[in-house]
Every structure is written in structure tokens, then in C-alpha cells.
Symmetry: D2
Subunit: 476 residues, 4 copies
């Protein structure tokens, strides 16, 4: 890229993560000749945008920088001439996540807001919006890079590239970052002396690790992390319950799973834990809402001009920093080794050529150059991720077409949703519950309202209890 | 093939299905120049072998044929010079199936003796035996064809070909036959005026149907069978509960599912029904034992010299007739259109080249020539079958190596088994329960016996209740 | 299909092959409820159309049939309501073929009018016309089947399906038919007791043969046809010089080559022979012109009401009969085993999924169902056909876009054209020579005329000599 | 790797390139803790080994290093405990190359000692030797890396990995290095500010170039190098005639060709030039022999202790330096971006998964991590390289099995050899000419000697003329 005066636009700028983003830019001030930072949000997020936006201005000022930080509700105008667009918006705010998690859990089914029932609904709400943003970008900033960290990051990135046609999209996730630092710590070897190779899709990837003598350390790490002698918490993800993988299974796998594999490999334990949270009114969404509330209290302090420690409780930590690094690497052709969601193009031969995958590669000025991965070592790894990808494709198709059959199909094949009648029940309830944010499903939702009074009643009743106060427009 | 004096050997000859096989040969007496029919069984099945064997002799005699029907427990000698070997044995007899189904169900998990927890255990017991048979065949009848209808027919066939190296193996199933006659009946068109194209794997395939004007009738059949107006029982399989598919999902699929897809697409309803059966002591295995008992009572009648009507209650009807048709088609290069388990070789591009798939094709003198299928129409169909194939590969690997890690992996990724801790619990219990028939897992089973007293106690207790009398060596 | 009153339209109806087509329909009168046969040609072919058309009428009448045979120059109107459209036109008539062959040969390079330099030019002229026909068909007969036997049949069929989007296209060639009868004769086994399996692309396919005992006879046929003891002419193709393949190479191949493989496997001998023909003024095109002339003399005889024996000299014999059989098989869902050009869809895994390939299959009412082929047995077979397919794709791209770079690329990679400067020389000369039939290359041709006087002079001079009288609009 | 006292063994140590290798080590002395350098050669190369070996010792001494440089004819002992083995041997010395080039050229056919007729024979001679070396390595240094730059580097590397099973093999070539510096020079941009991406196979690869603003510069480079205005010599390869590519073809290709593509894209011009060289007794082999002779004169000078300028005339310059960089990058996990021959594993989806390809990637301590390439942009590029790979596979098969049919097949499909009878003639002559170095073909060669007197006489006669004095055991 190598522009001389950068304009960076953040959609969902009112998010509690914004200070991390600003901190990331400040850390890279020598690499990023920023002129304008524009934080965009929608009417419902205005108050939060102002709070966090003012704080962003204070941070920039405290760093002695003359960057212009602008706050706006006018997305289209904001995009004019942008060099980078980052997306961290949440359609329907955290309240939507509360529904995504609580409705399935009320039936004893995982909500899982990224790849489970909740994640599929989030995709239904988000994909039309990302496609709208891309339409604006085609007009306003045809050469800009889109750095997406709105979840479900894999499906949203796939929709942006395959449906929207915006090839300059990079999807981001903080999960791999945590696995790298965890491996480094467990092996007692600095991170930059290890070689990590990740492959899979967002929140469903595996990795292998080598040291600088060329020795593969994957098996050793499996032993340390999941072997018979491990007796501590090896999960670095704040937002995932730390149930322990079954050692023999991971050993057979021969690769290190990601934290989210718990939902697939030890689904029953994760479910039980989620149900307990649900019963206490402490689903992850509810907890996050409270964390958010406290963060925004802090942000209001006109004396605060740095990222507060409390933000690291939020769950998505490192996300924004990774986004800043991608921007710096594109801008400067740094060729930083990163793990990103990008076009497969045969990198993983077991997945469709035109899919989006999450893999290791270098970030250059012209985009991501992934390291080739090839085939997975065994049918068990291959098959389960192929099923996940099939589910993702079906979710995108349903989201774009407003296709109820496809939506039901996706719910049926998603391994986190018990097949069949329950899948249909939950899908119908979620569609009704999110009716304000699913215009493409309007006809079907109307039909549900008219012909399934029990669905309407169930959702209305459920939403009454434990319905936390509306908090705002934030991610994760 | 075109031999002039055929020798056909049936392993598991004491099965209740044998009369159907004999009837099939008799029906095709003009196409099959049979000299010897040898029914082989093991010591435990001797009584049944004698009952059904005598009846087979009566049937041949009644047909005025001079075929030599021989009964033996000496498999190796029996195979000498065989032209065709058919396999319908069940390791551990029906009692093993009772365990396969009741142990998972006791935890509220489907047993499903073909592709579920039960089916995986059946594969663990059966694959070493089929490989032994192949070792014998290499010595005794190196040019013979192996026609396998021992379940899980897909995995057993894949092991025979990929592990045993016996390329002259054809796997058989009766499920497609039923779908063809059902389609014919619903459309009011003779079966031979329809063109059926099946693709998938054993007990997990879809099909499309065209009429003789070239019009595809698949969508119409979906409407008739699963549409809003259907109000009757459309399931032609005796052994599968007739819960109804969800119409919108099948419509989105665009292909006709097979009966076993109920376990995946409406898993919850199938599970609920199975649990009810379990609670009444009427799991399918238990019912079949009783059916078997009654059949053998009939077979004992020295006046009975034809296949009794009651056999059609057994569930696997048409299996044996299909086996006879395969033999006749190979013998005479008849090029009969059939649906069989055979080498993929790119027929289904979404599945590994060297896999076994169940597809439509013609049966020639040199083997099966499948019609090309290509890719599945959508990610949802593609992904779920890729996962099933990955599971199958892992089961075979576990069975051949006695690899506990692989076994746990297979249980973890099998969509009919809830992932995680429950998968391990059920696997351990099943291994212990079947210890007499799993020599390759002997070490692991010993470890379970020594270190997991709760597993041992649970299984021992469960096996006490509802444990039906030992019946014999029969299939399905 | 199963229509009750068929309308069959033949584009290039003035071809000398038309009597074979008519004979084919008459032979199948019980299978084909024909009402209308429309023979279409262009102004330049009017005289021949009338001669052969009148003869067609006499043939129909002599057969005692009431079919309506119509002759017209109005293609669009003719297509109205057609059930089948067959194409046997030649853009530029046989004179174009004379140029296709003589210009390359004047430089000592093979013309080869199907896959060589001549064939590529023929594709440039023909593809725009087939796409025009398809545009008419979309309007006039949206459900019709297109049976193409215009060469290069593979590329024309691929353009029709991939570019024109007309999936109901079947491409036809007579080469496989000859190989089947030759194998039958050499082995002394009736053709219907052999199983043939062909795979490749038009004029570049291999085959294997089995007998009805299931024994593969391919190696034996290689020995008979090309082994050390063979001393006779084993080439059944009238239009190809009978140079002998090198036995060791064909043996290593393990499949039977097609006649056209001579151009690739013994290119030097074929070239030498072609140069001799060229020098005598007896290139194939010139000989065919003379044959045509004589045929039309015969056709003029008002007493002739059957296909004359002399037509079998023409080279493309069986083509039209095969076309009739395809029509009959589609009409009656006969499922005749044939070798046709159809969509690959993974049938041959070594070639692109969306390619057109020439393979064995059955012809049903809904189209061709090819037998799966899989991968070729060795890299040598795989690589050379992959190169041919790459060349074909490039020719089609050049033809559709009028893209000179692509045309030069195709000439460069075509194995029958020596790479480089000669490729460019011949391409330029051929473009100029065919300027009346290459509107899409008009700009480039103009540039050649203006800047390459030596090209213009060379072609003008060459065309003066041996330039046979214009004969007409016929195929092959 | 990160060993503390490296032992590096060079097979073919008597090569004229050895000083470049030594210079490369010296330049990287801080990265390479070398203890032993062992130069191995065979009896015939002893004199040259001593000359160049003594010079190597002087170079090391002049650099003030205490490395132990050892010269030996005992390969097996030399390999004991090696960390790196580099191969630069030439079976049959340069005289063999003279035959490889002159025999085909005497028939007007390109010899081309890497991928043409000569290269195939070189592979026949070399592959059995590399497999022998690997057998020794399995015993003597099971963890060593094999860095191969013996030509044909692609086929030799493929044999080492696929047949020999030595996965720690990296193949090297200097061609890409020259293209990078040429692009840098033409664009006026430092090499490290460009991103190069190469893909293909040895001596048959293409590349794309981006600058640090992310802009692709490939098209611009095509214009500069091959466009209408270029009037200078753009070929950086000393050993390849600088005929000019045809601009429109390269533009259509959309990638930059490598120097060796001249043999395929402008074959006629290259052939004409080679015939001129042949007629003057100045084939490349003959010129190189003379260059070698002069180099060894220089090397004899006891005062010379640095790489002489004249070595850069040799043609393979940068080869050895690249080898040193690979060693340093493995040793230090440097992750240097290089272009190497390595396992495909799906990097190029158009080529077999288990092939060896030449691609861009980073060299880590555990081997090469290639950047994913995916599919080629058009059928023309795809097809021609697929054919080359098929040819390579067939050459390897012929070399390993001593299979004459496969050898003839490879000659037939190689685009640099005219198909057919000439292919057989040249193959037979080359086999006979190299009989001392082709033990695997002994039977066939004996047959030729006994039954083809004309072959024997032709070769004997040809070898008499222009037969330069024996020079020694050197590469390229």
C-alpha cells in the first residue's frame, strides 16, 4: 500500500474494543502515517460512540500525535477515500447475543455465538450488513482494504469475498495469538523462536509447532497440555469454559486443537457448563454486558487516556492489536507472519478452492500469502472440518437469499445443534426473536407469527426473564 | 466370469436369510450353472446351520435341481475353488447386537447398529474376520468374487478392498431396492421405466429419479413423500422408525434421502423412539431375536421347502435376492443396473479417490462400472457425508490396528454419538462388553477391567436385565 | 423425450452425409415418430442442398413413409419447435479445409483439420456460428437436443455447453465405432459380447476392452494390432494414413490408442506422408472435394433412392448413423451404450470438472450418463491429454473473444505445431486466408494486411496453385 | 537444525563449482559453525578433485578459518555423521553431456541437457546413483539434509523423495535468482523491495512480481522485456541462446516465463541456433569443456585463494551460493525466501499432490514451507506443465525400472523431441552411446548392439568427430 496519509475507518466504532485499536495504532505510529481515524456507529450506539470516541481522542492527544479522530453516524460519507476499513460492529447489540445464547440453552442446546446456533443467527443478521458496507466501499473507497473482525469472522469474510466480491478482505481472530503465547510459555521458548502452522476455519483450526532446531514439538505440547499429568487450567481463552480434552483422542489427532474445539470434542461438558451459566443468569452474553457496562463507566472518566487493564477481561483481547499489525504489514510490506482468514485457493486441499480458510501466512503489501498446508493427516480431522465448511456455506446461502430451507438445512447439519425437530424449533424461535434485524426472512417470520403461536409465546416469555438492560453496540 | 460349474460359498450360512438366498438361486437357475452350494458357519451356529441347511436342501430338491448343498464348520476347506463367496455372518451373534444397542441407549444415546455407536463396534468385531477370510481366499480361491452383505457393509467392504487388497469385492445393501419400489409406487410408473441414480455411502446415500421422457421427478417425489399433504407412512424399511423428515430441509437438499438419514436429519425423534423401545425391552436387536426364534421354528418343519412369508418381517429382505442378481450379472455379463458398494475412483468427486462408495452402476463380468456422479449439489450434503467418510476411515484404522485413540476419535466425530466424555464412556463400556470378540483391543480392555471398576460394574449390571436368550448366528 | 411427432432439423443439410442420416432414420422408423425433417443450408450451399434434399425425399418415399422433408435457407424459422437439431455444417465449405491443410503443409507442418493447425482455425470459424445457432434455439426451441457432429467436435461441443450454456448438447464422432468393430473382428468375438470403455477427448482418446468372461483383452489387442508379428493394415479410418505405432510404447501405455494418436505418437511419419500428399496436390481436403463431386453426381440421379456404396469412401461413415442412434436413445430412453462428447463432471479426474470429454456411457431420455473413468494409468497418458485440453480451452477462448494472443498461445502449445516463430507465421497466414469467415479477428487481420505484405503475398500465391473448384457445404 | 559443529559433504566435489561453494560458506561463516568439509569424487575425477580441493583449502586458510577440508574417493565413509550432503556430480563427466547434445542435434533435434532428450538420458544415468547415495545416507547419516543441484534437478529431487523416500531433500536451481535480479534491474527497484512468486517445475516455471506498494508489476515487466520496444538482450542465462519470446503470447500468458521456456515457446529458433553450434563443433557441452579446462588451469595456481571471476562464465553461477544459503537457513531457522524444488502437497493444484515442484517459499529449520500457489491462470499454462510433469514421472519410472517402453513413452511425449520414429532412433542411439552408465538398461542395449547395426555404426561414427578431450567430473 505505502500511502503517505492514511485514513482508517472503523465500523462499530462505539465498541468497547476501540481503545485497544487506538493503542495499537499508537504503538505503531512510526509505521502508520495516519491522518484520519473515523469511528462510525449507528443511532442506537451513539452514546457509547461518544464516550469511547472522546477517550480515543484523549489517547491520541496523550501520545502527542496530531491524528484527526472523528465520530459519525454517517457511514457512507465516512468511507470516502478510506485506505483501511475495520469492522467490529454487532447487529442488534449485545442484546441480540443474549437471545442467541439463551434461546438454545433454554432447550438444553448450546448457543455458541460463533459457530453454533447463535453464530448462525449472528451470520444471518451480519452478512446483509457487510454486503451493504461493501456496496458503499465500491463507491467511496474502491482501493481500500477491509479488515474484518466481526464474528462469525470466517463466514462474514467468506460472504465479503465470495458474495460481495471484495477480494481485499482479511478476516481476523485472536484465538491463534493465545495459542502461540501458550505454547511459548509451556515450552519455555520465546515465541519468535518457534514456527507455528495453523490450518482450518475460524474457531475451528488446528496447529503444529516446530522449534528452531527443526524439531516438531506438537506431540510434546499435547502431552504437556492434555496428557495424564496435566493438572492445571490450560485454556487461555477468557470466554471459553476450561473443560479438558480427552488425551488419547488429541494424541490420535496429532495436531493441537483450538480452544473452540472443546465445543465439538467435549461437547457434553461444555453444554453442561453452559446450562449452569444459563440457570444462574450468567450466560457469556450476560456477563459481557456487565463487563461492558463497567468498561464504559471507566471510559467516561475524562482523566483516562490509556487502555484500562480491565479491557483484557473482555474476551476478545489481542483482536484489535492484530488488526493494527495487519494494517501496518500491508502498509509497509512487512511480511509479518500471521494467522488470518483468507482465500483458500488450494492451501488446504480438503476444502473447496474458493472457500475462506484460517491459515498461517505472511501479510504483504498485496495481501496475504498463505503457507501451503495440503491435506489433513487423517480422515477424522478432514471430515469434521469439511462438515463445518458445508454448514458455513449453507448459512451464507441462507443469509443472502433469506432462504428458510437452507437455514433449516444449516441448523440440521451443524454438529452443535441436535438434528431434527429441535433444530427447527430453535431456528423458528430465533428467527422470531430477531425479527427486527432479519429483513430477508420477513415473510417466513410473519408466517411463524401467524401460524405458530406457541413459538411466539415461548420466546416472549423467555425474553422477559433475565433480560439484562440494553448496553450497546459492542463486539464479542 | 462365465464358468460352467459354479461353486458358491456362504460364510454365515446358518443365517435366517439363507432361504432367501436359495430362493434367489433357484429363480435364476437358467443363468447360474450351480454345482456346489456350501454353507459355512462356526461352532456356536452349528444348530442353526443344520436347521436352515436342511431346509435349503429341501428347497433345491423341490425345485428339481441336482445342486450339491453342503454344510460345514471348516471355512478354509469350504473355500477351495469357490467362484463366489457371500458373507452374511455376525460376529458374536445377535447377542452382540443387543449390547451394541442397549449400552448406548442406557445413556440416552442411539445405538444404531450400522453407522452409530453399535455399528462402529460391529466394525471392530467384523473387520478382522473379513480380513482373515480374505487371507484364506488368497490361498483357496484367488479368482473368486466376494459379495459382502455383512454390516456395516460400507466399512467392511472398504476394509476388504483397501486393507485386504481384494478388489473383486462388491458390497450390497437392500435399502436402495426399497426406495426404487417406493418411488415407482408413488409415481404410478413401473420401476423399469424410471432411471434412478444413487450416490453416497452405505446407509447414507441420496438419490434422484427421472422418468422415460427425461423429466426429473425428484422434486415431485419429495413433495409426495415429505410434503405438507403427506399423511401416511412413507418408510419402506421394516427396521427403521417412521418419523417424518422436515419438508423444507429435504426440499433444500434437492435429493431424496435414504431411510437411515432419519438418524441424522431427525435424530431427536429417532432417539426418543429408540429410548421407548429400550425401556420396553424391545430394542430392534431384541425384536429380531424373537423373529429369528420364530423363523427357526418354522424352518425346522421338514415339510417346509419354500421361503416362508414371515422372513419378509426380518428387515433385511431383498438383500439376498440382490446378492443372487449380482452373481448372475457377473456370471453372464448381464450389465444389470444396481446400487452397490464399490471403489470410488472419482465417481463422487467430494469423497476420497480410494474410498468405497455406494452408487448406481452396471454389474459386468469384470465388476461394477459405476455411473459418474460428480459433486453434490450443495455444501450441506457434501459436508455431512465427508464427515461420515472420515468417521468410517477412522473406524477401519482403529479396527485394524486395535488403536484406542483412533476408536475414541471415531466415537468423537460420529454425529450419532454426543461428543466428548459420553463418547469415551460408551466406547469403554462397549469394548469391555465385547471383550471376547475384540482380540486387537485386548490390552486396552484389560486396562479398563483393572482401572475402571465402574465401567465393569455398569456393563455387568446392564447385561443382566433384559438379556434375551442366545439365538444364533444371523445377520441384521 | 418421448414426443409423439418429432421435428428434426439438420444445419448443413446440403452435406453429402445427409443420405446416411436419412437412412439412419428409416432404419429406426419404429423408434422415431418423425413428422418433419428440415434440411437447412446457406446461400452458398443452395445447389447441393437441393440435390441432396431431393434425394432425401426420394429415400423417404421409397421407404413408404409420410415424413415431411423440407429444404430451406432460413435457419431461424426452421428451428421453430424442433425436437432435435443436428449440426453438420462446414463454415467456408471444403475450400476452407483446403487452406487449413495446405498452408501449414507448405511450411512442412501438419494441417490436421481436427486438432492441429487446421482444426484450430476451423474452431475459430465454427464456434461463433454454433453460438449463433444456440441463440436462435433459445428462442425457437428451448427444449431441443443439439446433436453436434461438426468438427472439431470436442471444442465445438465444449463451446456450446460452456459458453453457449446449452447443456442438452451431445457431441459425436465415428472414430470409436470403428475401433469397436476392429476389436471385434481381430478377437473373433461379436461386438455385443465385448465391453468397451473409452476415455479422452475428441480424436484423442484411448480405450480398454473386456470380454464376457470378465477378462481384459486390451493387452492382447495391442499385441495383435501393433505387436512384432502384425503385418497388415490395422487402421480402420479412411482419412488417416496407416503408419504403424511403436509397439513398446503402446504396450507401456496399457490402453489402445485411437487412430488420431498417430499424429502425436508417430508424428514424423504422418507428417512425411502428408507432405507427399501435399506435393502431389492430394491433401485430404483435395481428395474429399473430388469424392464429394462424384457423390453429388450420383445424388443427381432421380432414380437413386438409397445411400450409394460410394459414400462409405467419404471418411466420416457411421457418423450419421450414430447421430440417429443418439436421437432414438433419447427419444425412447433406450440407454444405448455409446461413446460421446459430454460434460466431464469428474468422469475423468485428470481433466477439469467443467470440460467436455469423450467417454463411454449410456444415452438416456435425460441425456448421457457416462461410466466413471477416474485417473489415467500413467503420467505419460495423463500429461499429454491435459496439454491437449489446455490447448482446446485456449482455442475456444481465442474464438469467442477474437483474442490474437490466445490464438498464438494455442498455436504455441499445440503439439502438432512446432513452437514459436513458425506457429506465428502459420497463424497469421491462416487468419488472412480465412478473413471472410473470422469477423471476430477483423482488426488483427487488417493489421496483418497492412503491416505484413509477405504474409499476404505468400498466401495469395499459395492459394493460386492447386486451388480446386468450389464444391460446397459439406462436412469432413 | 542448529548443530554446533557441522559436517558438510559434497558429492562431486571435484566440480569446477566447488570454489563458489567454499566462497559461499566463507561469506556465511558467522552463521555456519563448520567443522568438516568433505569433498567426494570418483576415481575418474581424482585429478580434478585434487586440484580444486587444494584450492578450497587455500580459500579456507586465506579466510583465517580452521575448517577441516578433506578430499576422498570413499563416499560411504565420507557420509558418516554428515549434517548436510550436497550433490553436484555428473555421471559420465562432461563427455556424457557432449553425447546428450550431439546425438539428437545430428538429427536436427534439440539435445537440451536438462528437460530434453539429453536431460532424459542424464536422468537415466543419475537417478540410480542418487538412490545409491540415499541408501548410504540411511546408514551413515540418517538425519542429514540432502541439497541437490545435480541436473535434471527436478527429476533427481523427485526420485530422491518419492522413490528413495528421503524427505529431507531440497532441490536447487540458479535460474530464478537471475530472474529476480533482472526484474530488479529493469524496474529500478532493489530486489528486497519486490515480492516474487515462482511456480512450476525445474527449468519450467513462471513468476509474478509485486512491489512494496502492493502493485503487481508483472505486465509491466513483460512489456519491458518482451514488448515491441525492447531491443536488447534480456536473457540473463549464460547457457541459453537469447532468442526473443513472442510478445502477444507472453502477454496472454500473464506470467513471466523462465529462460528455458524459450525451448518450448520459440523452439524453432532455439533449434536453429543449436544446429549452428553443433555444426561449428560448439555445442554448449563442448564450450563448457573448454571453459572447464581453463578454470582448472587457473585453479592449479597455488597462489589463487579466491573464486576467480572466470567462473561466472560457467553458466551455473549462483547455484552454489544458493546451496549455502539453504544450508544457513536450515541451520539457523532463517526463513529466507527462496525458490526451491520441494514436495508439492497441493501448492500447485494443477500438478499431482506427491510431485516435486519448484516454488517460492521460506526455508526453515524443519524444511521448506512453500507459499501456496493454487491453479494456473489459463489452460495453456496449465496443460503444458502437466505434460512436462507426466514426462518427468515417466522418465523416473524408466530410470528406476530400466523400462524401455517407459523410456520410449517419455521420449514420445517430451515436447522437445519430435514424436515417433525419430524419438525411437535417438533413444536407441543414446542408450547405446551411454552403455557404460546405464546398467539398468543392459539387456535392451545388448539387444540394440545385436540387432541394430545401423544404430551402432551411426553412433560410433558420430562420436569420432568433434570428440573433445575428456575433462572431468563437473556439473552443468
Amino acid at each position: 500500500m505505502t500511502k503517505e496519509a492514511l485514513k482508517i475507518v472503523t465500523i462499530g466504532g462505539g465498541s468497547s474494543y476501540t481503545p485497544e485499536l487506538i493503542e495499537g495504532y499508537i504503538k505503531r505510529k512510526d509505521q502508520l502515517p495516519i491522518k484520519d481515524i473515523v469511528l462510525v456507529d449507528i443511532e442506537e450506539g451513539k452514546e457509547k460512540l461518544e464516550i469511547v470516541g472522546e477517550m480515543a481522542k484523549r489517547m491520541v492527544k496523550a501520545a502527542g500525535l496530531d491524528w484527526n479522530v472523528e465520530l459519525t453516524l454517517d457511514r457512507k460519507t465516512a468511507l470516502k477515500g478510506a485506505d483501511f476499513v475495520t469492522t467490529q460492529f454487532r447487529v442488534g447489540l449485545l442484546d441480540a447475543r443474549v437471545k442467541d445464547e439463551r434461546i438454545p440453552l433454554s432447550h438444553g442446546v448450546l448457543g455458541q455465538e460463533t459457530n453454533g446456533a447463535g453464530g448462525m443467527l449472528k451470520a444471518f443478521r451480519t452478512i446483509p450488513v457487510i454486503l451493504d458496507i461493501i456496496e458503499d466501499m465500491k463507491e467511496q473507497c474502491p482501493d481500500a482494504w477491509l479488515v474484518n473482525f466481526t464474528n462469525p469472522a470466517g463466514m462474514v469474510t467468506e460472504a465479503a469475498i465470495k458474495v460481495g466480491g471484495w477480494e481485499r478482505t482479511v478476516g481476523l481472530c485472536n484465538v491463534p495469538i493465545g495459542h502461540c503465547s501458550s505454547a511459548s510459555e509451556k515450552l519455555g521458548i520465546p515465541e519468535n523462536e518457534l514456527f507455528f502452522k495453523f490450518a482450518g476455519i475460524n474457531h475451528f483450526h488446528w496447529h503444529r509447532v516446530w522449534d528452531k532446531t527443526g524439531k516438531e514439538r506438537t506431540a510434546e505440547l499435547i502431552d504437556i497440555l492434555y496428557g495424564p499429568d496435566q493438572n492445571e487450567d490450560n485454556n487461555h481463552l477468557k470466554n471459553i469454559h476450561s473443560a479438558s480434552f480427552h488425551y488419547e483422542q488429541i494424541k490420535d489427532l496429532g495436531m493441537l486443537p483450538c480452544g473452540y474445539h472443546r465445543y465439538y470434542y467435549i461437547e457434553d461438558e461444555m453444554l453442561q457448563h453452559s446450562i449452569e451459566e444459563f440457570e444462574k443468569g450468567e450466560t457469556r452474553a450476560q456477563v459481557v454486558k456487565e463487563t461492558e457496562r463497567r468498561l464504559f463507566e471507566l471510559y467516561k472518566d475524562p482523566a483516562l487516556d490509556y487502555k484500562p487493564e480491565e479491557l483484557s477481561q473482555r474476551g476478545g483481547t489481542h483482536y484489535s492489536d492484530a488488526a493494527c499489525e495487519i494494517i501496518a504489514s500491508i502498509q509497509n510490506d512487512k511480511r509479518t507472519e500471521m494467522v488470518v482468514s483468507t482465500q483458500n485457493n488450494g492451501t488446504i486441499t480438503d476444502l473447496p478452492y474458493d472457500s475462506i480458510v484460517e491459515v498461517s501466512g505472511v501479510v504483504t503489501a498485496h495481501g496475504v500469502e498463505p503457507y501451503n498446508w495440503g491435506a489433513f493427516p487423517s480422515g477424522a480431522a478432514r471430515g469434521i472440518i469439511q462438515n463445518m465448511k458445508g454448514m458455513e456455506e449453507t448459512v451464507i446461502r441462507a443469509a443472502v437469499e433469506g432462504n428458510y430451507g437452507a437455514a433449516l438445512q444449516a441448523f440440521t447439519v451443524n454438529p452443535l445443534v441436535p438434528g431434527g425437530t429441535m433444530a427447527k424449533t430453535i431456528l423458528d424461535e430465533l428467527l422470531y426473536a430477531h425479527k427486527d434485524h432479519l429483513p430477508q426472512f420477513a415473510d417466513k417470520i410473519k408466517e411463524i407469527e401467524e401460524t405458530q403461536p406457541e413459538t411466539v409465546a415461548y420466546v416472549d416469555e423467555l425474553m422477559k426473564s433475565n433480560n439484562p438492560a440494553l448496553v450497546g453496540n459492542v463486539e464479542n
